[in-house]
């Protein structure tokens, strides 16, 4: 019945032109109980810095819930609510719908309010995926789902998720003498899958907090464009990835520079690579060897050179054989691959 209802206007947030123009205010502040050097905490900070004060944040269970809101204590300046582990999609949709009802009934002032639901990779890519997918089919509601991907169920001390990289040491995949690698599946491509499968979703992007201004601008674009939108952020996690917290920023950069984490956005069905990824695709920059990324992380300390070569080959494949490098995994019918008969 209300399928024809028009959406409420969204906040029009301007793109931030350079670091000096970033807002000074913090809406997620100090005193959270995350690890030293937690990039996911940085994601929370940049996410609401970009969104501004008229924002409601919904947090799915995980590090960013547990470490940021322990008994009678919080680091949030904007309203924040805890939602269950697999519920970021439903919570985002439900809150956006509730706001509209309250405004229609005159219970609150009619104004654009940002709704952001965040989830970890376990909550977003495994158990919450169906709710996110369902939410992205509702074009009349404005909300953003942000998946912060530390590549494990980090809060419960690092279990394997669908986004854990090949071969990594986790509580569920300890390397041993009989089997050096217990986890031999390749990471899911969540942003690509959601972009390809949800024509009503007007904005999907991948981001990395090492590139803070780009990051905030993707959040602003998602919130301004309206409807259900999705952002996938790769977050180095010093605890689970096992590295000196000082390297957090560098590892984010290396993920992009080695091509392990391509940066792109799909805006109204149009795909654009951006930042370093674009430079690599256009051959203005070189892809660094993945070795540089892997050897800095204790979770890959058991890798042999063969494992590193395999990892490299899989990343090369993403870049050389995929229909769109690093984004859409269908293979081009490359002549050298399958000569026409």
């Amino acid at each position: 019945m209300d399928a024809v209802e028009t959406a409420l206007p969204t906040q029009q947030l301007e793109q931030i032109k350079g670091v000096k123009k970033a807002p000074l205010e913090e809406y997620f502040t100090s005193g959270h109980r995350t690890c030293q050097g937690c990039e996911s905490a940085l994601v929370m900070k940049l996410m609401v810095k970009a969104a501004g004060p008229r924002t409601i944040v919904l947090g799915s269970t995980g590090c960013m819930y547990v470490a940021n809101t322990t008994y009678y204590s919080t680091s949030w300046v904007v309203p924040w609510m805890h939602t269950q582990l697999g519920s970021s999609g439903s919570a985002g949709l439900g809150t956006a719908a509730a706001l509209r009802v309250l405004m229609r009934k005159g219970k609150i002032k009619e104004e654009p309010i940002n709704v952001i639901a965040f989830c970890g990779d376990g909550g977003g890519a495994d158990m919450g995926l169906s709710a996110i997918s369902a939410a992205l089919t509702h074009p009349q509601y404005n909300f953003l789902i942000l998946l912060y991907d530390n590549e494990s169920y980090a809060n419960t001390d690092i279990q394997l998720s669908g986004l854990t990289p090949y071969g990594a040491h986790t509580t569920f995949s300890p390397p041993g003498k009989m089997k050096r690698l217990l986890h031999t599946r390749w990471k899911k491509n969540v942003a690509g899958m959601l972009a390809a499968g949800h024509p009503e979703c007007r904005y999907v992007a991948t981001v990395c907090a090492s590139y803070a201004v780009d990051f905030m601008n993707r959040v602003r674009k998602a919130l301004s464009i309206g409807g259900p939108t999705f952002i996938h952020s790769l977050d180095p996690c010093p605890k689970g990835w096992d590295y000196d917290p000082m390297l957090s920023h560098e590892l984010g950069e290396l993920a992009v520079e080695t091509g392990v984490w391509p940066l792109y956005e799909v805006e109204n069905g149009v795909l654009k690579l951006y930042g370093r990824t674009k430079a690599i695709a256009e051959k203005r920059a070189r892809r660094k060897p993945v070795r540089e990324y892997l050897i800095r992380q204790g979770r890959f300390a058991h890798f042999t050179d063969d494992d590193i070569d395999y990892f490299q080959a899989k990343v090369d494949e993403m870049w050389e054989k995929w229909l769109i490098p690093g984004v859409i995994p269908f293979r081009k019918e490359l002549e050298q691959d399958r000569p026409p008969v």
Binding site: V19, T29, G31, R33, K45, Y72, I158, D244, M246, A301
Partner: protein, 412 residues
């Protein structure tokens, strides 16, 4: 009733998780060889552990089963015979993941109990960090750099067995060195580790700390509401948004200081802190923008002042600062307060320059966790050269880096 022994191991969450587990397990095993019975466990409230945030393990030992039962079923013992700090910066106080306020490192120590610290510092430096106690206690120093490694890759620099040797020396009623040797052979079957434990007992230095000695500050604490006082919907008041910063010289107000969570300060998470040389700063914003803990206040004159009540010492700001020697991470033991560095600089630039130089010179390098493959092997070689780790029975450096599966624990 028999005799009950309680020992707590205070450590840096995750970085020293495997180390703390080895120590508390080793204590119980050694005590068994001394005819006693015991249990080793971590504090549930500390889980899920976070990198660097202080956590505790306990070893409870008794002369008989009944006494053990009585001493065991506690969240945390009320008093302990020994407190072990496997990182000396913990002597400034402990603000755990799961509580509010700062606990002195020696809070649970019995009269006459021992605080055992692994450190390269002398008595005076350690005592000046520890909060004062009403009664005398013993301080024991075990020479060594803090052994930090991460969750998966364990750096076996013998700190675990050296602590066991030290305990045999300060609390012989619990177990002696022969019991330690038996436990090491049973657990690791390693002659080198036995030699390290014996040598540590030999070299341990002790001294009594009097009630007149130590940090006189009162540790901060919070009055928290009871569950029935919580607001409707169990809602928690949000943090107010921040405000401008006042220049200590001109009085001009500008920039921005975010308000901060008043009930969790995080600075006891820190083993080092950034020292900023404002003369070198080019105001690029990167430290401010990339700090995961939103530590930096933006000053009215456009500088970035790391707020020391919020900084957890991750070192990201040093890593991203494009100007050489503009931000330097310095060992936390070199500081006695949390003053604003920018205010110090504004008030007296020459004095500040001298202060910076002094701190940077006194900066013992500190590393947390894994940086690159082979790193721990190199570090252990240095320890062997310094005589901290005993290699007299032969070199087996290739085995020093062991990838041990950590233990899962639930939380949240």
């Amino acid at each position: 009733m028999g005799r009950l022994f309680a020992i707590e191991i205070v450590y840096r969450g995750i970085f020293q998780k495997n180390l703390a587990k080895n120590i508390s397990r080793g204590i119980v095993l050694a005590a068994r060889h001394a005819g006693k019975t015991g249990i080793s466990f971590g504090r549930y409230g500390d889980s899920p552990e976070r990198n660097g945030i202080p956590a505790k393990n306990f070893a409870i030992v008794a002369t008989d089963d009944e006494t053990l039962q009585e001493g065991m079923a506690k969240y945390e013992p009320r008093e302990v015979d020994i407190t072990i700090a496997v990182d000396d910066t913990l002597c400034k106080g402990v603000e755990s993941w799961a509580w509010y306020g700062l606990q002195p490192i020696n809070r649970l120590l019995k009269p006459g109990g021992t605080l055992l610290v692994t450190t390269m510092h002398d008595f005076d430096a350690i005592i000046s960090m520890c909060h004062r106690k009403d009664y005398p206690y013993q301080l024991a120093l075990l020479r060594g750099i803090p052994s930090f490694s991460g969750l998966w890759v364990y750096k076996d620099d013998h700190t675990d067995v050296r602590v066991l040797g030290a305990i045999a020396r300060v609390l012989p009623d619990l177990f002696d060195l022969d019991a330690v040797e038996k436990a090491i052979r049973e657990e690791w079957n390693d002659d080198l580790k036995v030699a390290s434990a014996r040598k540590a007992a030999d070299r341990l230095r002790t001294r009594v700390v009097l009630p007149t000695e130590g940090n006189p500050e009162k540790p901060y604490a919070f009055e928290l509401p009871r569950w029935y006082e919580l607001r409707e919907g169990l809602s928690i008041p949000a943090i107010p948004v921040g405000q401008g910063v006042a220049d200590p010289v001109t009085g001009q107000v500008g920039g921005f200081r975010p308000a901060r969570n008043p009930t969790f300060k995080k600075f006891s998470t820190r083993t080092m802190r950034p020292v900023v040389d404002f003369d070198k700063c080019v105001k690029c914003t990167l430290c401010w923008l990339q700090c995961p803990d939103s530590c930096f206040d933006v000053t009215p004159d456009g500088y970035y002042d790391a707020h020391m009540e919020a900084c957890c010492g991750c070192g990201v700001c040093e890593a991203v600062c494009p100007v050489e020697h503009c931000i330097t991470m310095v060992n936390e033991t070199a500081f006695t307060d949390n003053r604003s560095q920018w205010e110090m600089w504004k008030q007296d630039k020459d004095a500040y320059r001298a202060w910076v130089q002094d701190k940077i010179r006194a900066r013992p390098p500190r590393q947390h966790g894994f940086r690159i493959r082979g790193q721990y092997v190199e570090e252990i070689q240095q320890l062997v050269a310094a005589g901290v780790v005993d290699r007299s029975l032969g070199e087996r450096l290739a085995e020093d880096v062991t990838a041990e599966p950590g233990e899962a624990s639930a939380g949240g």
